[in-house]
């Protein structure tokens, strides 16, 4: 059988359009946030927006390349790509450059790249390839589950060593992918409950929580029909929860670094430190809040322009949207973003190849995680974790890696029709 080149019509134009809308919005925000009356030239390559423009060009070119590559390439080279990203991650530990406390950069001439960004699609490819292998049954086979977890945890550990807590946490979004591939829902649910319990543990003295849990368990057992299995299960869960509640406090006090503790305390409202972590969030909230309903207009945002918002072109880029385009703009932006996620979710589900589907879900979940944390952080709803807002934030590595991440999926999806006849052969 001859290899059919995908016809242009099969590329998902809506996704591509959304991508470019977001990238352009991002560029405008970066321009607004570093704008100075004295230097309004958008082509200025020394400024962040000038550089971002170059990166958009590079990304588009790379995206086009990806769309022209045979889709089998990604399937065939999934492991080598994963391997390369892992090697790069390790290389960073040895020969990395430290920027703002995280030693996660490799410097090549004037450009710095952050391998942690590329590890995301590397891992997504590897996981997709692994789960789509013959006789692989994620739901039933314990060994498969362990290896899958290993593929995800390996890069996490290395990135954690680079002091990049944010990027490490991004990998937890793969849980949602595994959920789609058969991870029981109760695990997701207990994970959710664990998070709630952890937050409670930090807010309330552990003893009170334990008493509360015991009361809850007793009430539960009084209400339901008691079988020995149910009693055992309840007691087990109760004990586990108690252990967790006390260990959370231990980890919080002894393992976490002081600035991380402060950030969490500030978020939980236990500590009002508006100097460090709290200061950023306060300024960010002022910037967004002052946008009101209509916003102040392009380049009119005083909060961003006067640089009261920290990291405004990278992590706090959403402030510019909030301030200059107001509630209306923010609403449209959130809508667009979630629409992109929805679109990708639909695309992922319609894949006939397991490889494509797992990869698609990975893309959706990674983007979703970034969106939740980044926007939530500027709104004071999430802890300040320095991860970029995909397609919007300034940063070459980030834009490039998100572009690759997304375009590989667009490429895989474009071949969907061809696969009707029997996949990769």
């Amino acid at each position: 059988m001859t290899v059919q080149q995908p016809k242009p019509s099969r590329i998902d134009w809506i996704t591509l359009l959304l991508y470019y809308i977001l990238v352009i919005v991002g560029l405008m925000c970066i321009y607004a946030s570093v704008y100075k009356e004295t230097n309004p030239n958008i082509w200025d390559g020394t400024q962040n927006y000038g550089k971002q423009l170059v990166w958009i060009g590079i990304s588009s070119f790379l995206g086009l390349m990806i769309l022209l590559i045979d889709e089998k390439f990604f399937y065939a080279f999934a492991y080598p790509i994963f391997g390369i990203t892992i090697v790069l991650l390790v290389l960073v530990l040895v020969a990395g450059t430290t920027v703002k406390g995280s030693s996660s950069w490799i410097e090549i001439g004037n450009f710095r790249i952050q391998p942690a960004e590329f590890a995301k699609f590397g891992t997504a490819l590897a996981l997709a390839k692994f789960l789509s292998g013959y006789n692989v049954n994620f739901e039933k086979d314990r060994k498969i589950q362990v290896i899958s977890a290993g593929i995800i945890i390996l890069p996490m550990i290395i990135i954690l060593f680079q002091n990049e807590t944010g990027s490490t946490l991004v990998f937890t979004s793969f849980i949602l992918v595994l959920f789609r591939e058969g991870l029981p829902g109760w695990i997701l649910f207990s994970g959710f409950m664990l998070v709630i319990l952890a937050i409670l543990a930090l807010l309330i003295p552990p003893l009170y929580i334990m008493i509360g849990l015991v009361v809850l368990a007793i009430v539960f057992l009084l209400v339901v029909r008691r079988t020995s299995l149910l009693i055992g299960l309840t007691v087990g869960v109760l004990l586990l929860s108690c252990v967790m509640v006390s260990s959370i406090n231990y980890v919080f006090e002894n393992v976490m670094q002081a600035h991380q503790r402060t950030r969490i305390n500030v978020l939980l409202g236990k500590q009002v430190d508006i100097k460090g972590a709290g200061y950023n969030v306060q300024q960010s909230k002022i910037a967004i809040g002052s946008g009101s309903f209509w916003g102040k207009g392009f380049l009119q945002g005083t909060q961003n322009k006067f640089r009261f918002v920290p990291e405004q072109s990278t992590d706090f880029i959403f402030c510019t949207i909030g301030e200059e385009y107001g509630f209306l703009g923010s609403f449209i932006f959130v809508f667009l973003y979630v629409f992109l996620l929805y679109r990708l979710l639909m695309m992922a589900e319609r894949q006939r190849q397991k490889f494509n589907r797992v990869y698609g879900y990975s893309v959706v979940c990674i983007l979703f995680f970034h969106f939740v944390i980044n926007v939530g952080m500027t709104l004071g709803l999430m802890p300040v974790i320095g991860i970029p807002l995909p397609f919007i934030s300034y940063g070459g590595s980030a834009l490039l890696s998100f572009t690759i991440l997304l375009f590989i999926f667009i490429r895989l999806d474009a071949n969907r029709v061809n696969e009707l006849r029997g996949a990769f052969d």
Binding site: F179, I288, G289, E323, S330
Partner: protein
Amino acid sequence: MDNFAKQRTLLIIFISVALIYIARLFYIQVIDDSYVFYAQNNVLQEQTIYPARGLIYDRDGELLVYNDAIYDLSVTPDQVKNLDTLSFCKVLNISKEEFLATFARLKRQKGYSPWKPIVFQRQITIPTYAAFQEKLFDFQGFFVEVRTDRKYKHSNAAHVMGYIGEVTDRDIEKSDGYYRMGDFIGISGVEKVYEKELGGIKGTRYVLVDSKNRTQGRYKNGEFDTAATAGKNIHLSINQKLQALGEDLLIGKIGSVVAIEPKTGEVLALVSSPTYDPNLLVGRERGNKYMELLKDPTKPLFNRPISAPYPPGSIFKIIMSLMGQQEKVLNPSTTYGCHHGYLFVGCHPHGSPLQLRGAIAISCNAYFCQVYRSVINNPKYKHVEDAYNEFYKHAYSFGMGHALGIDLYGEGQGILKKTSYFDKLYGRYRWQALTTISMGIGQGELGITPLQMANATAAVANRGYYITPHIVKKINNHANPNAEYNTKHWTTIDTAYFPIVIEGMQDVVEHGTAYVARIPGIVVCGKTGTAQNPHGKDHSIFFAFAPKDNPKIAIAVVVENAGFGATWAAPIASLMMEQYLTGKHDTRKALLERMLKDNRKPLNDSTTAKTK
């Protein structure tokens, strides 16, 4: 759960998050209008509230160090707009080049950020401040910060109090960001040791500033502000009058005085001569003055009483007397003859033979060489090394050969050699008492700092123990919390052996070598020392305590290259003890005159040569 439901679950999660965020956006952007207000007032500015640094008093509550306002001109570079550089430079009286150079320098500084305030010029004069304040609105981005610097009421005790200066990059790093560029920190003396107590805790105030840099009000009614905690006041154990007298008496001489209250270990006076006026190291000229002092060949910055080791000379005979008794090779009636010395150690003419008390009174060299020989060549021990170890142990227990732990930096250890030193020098089992005989009279391989001398005197005065000498008596009116400063360190000598030695020390003053040190109506016990040194004339040394019963003061005086202990050190100690015990020092006019009149500049400076 089927696949469709799973997809639906994810979708529900996405949409719920979006709805929560939109609700939140709606709340802070549309419903809550306080943020608009904050944004209109434009800038949330973080202002540091500097706490008043703790004051320093002497032991009787006399104020020694206080604070004085100074004005720093600061700038937030990003807020500088439409600056009329010419008029700005005129007000500050600087040239345009200087202006540009300063800005360039600030930009290179570590942690520079255009939207963080940074000090543009330190400690502008009050006229400049006034002129600047008038035109402040023309100079957007600039503002004046008021801070305090130290002022000293008296020109005494510079070495004790130390001085403050601006933090270094290392201080900033070590403090984990607490200190910021331009903050003051204690650099020496009590200011450094008690930086935590004196420094207080900085506070922060968040104010809203409009685009013209005018304060519009507090942010959220000061909800986030933290008050500054003032530094704690400190009472030194120093007696200002005694300290001042000591410094006057040592003018023109190189030397040290250390006076200690034996019962408490509190240092009553710590004189280092030559000294300097602490008011020199204050204000804009601090750096220049410091360099001048540093280059001064008489080393006024060198804290002699706690760092410079001297051969103790004859005062060491007191320790030898106690040691001999403890080792049971000496008792009060032990008699040795003296024929103008012992071997190559000479002695002055005096009656012979003598018992212990008499030997102390007239400071017989031969007698104590014999004592040293019997201690070191003690047949009780198999080897000389074992006997010497005992000698070392006893001397160590009086505070010799190690830093005592006074609350000042730069304390010296003195010199007290271990057996291994002599083993290396002469070979194992190849030395004995005669090899090191000069140590018996406090020469040779011995060196003790004036602080250690005073401490040893205090131990004798206390009949067997000392408390680690310290400078700070009270912090915020509570006793110094350091447990060391409240612990008795017992010497290895039994209390029973002290009385006879103390009798001898009384004889020294009443009819012995230090007759000149008598104070009418007070029983003084002391011992002179005349320490030979290879750098010039002998050092004049005296240590004493008074009164004999229930001693109130123990003192050690060293005057470099001044001759006999009785000539200079003993009178100085006597005058100071009188001052402390009676509040007067002018009852013996002739003696006081003689001490004060001698303002000769010493020819050479042996201490500096030695301590290089």
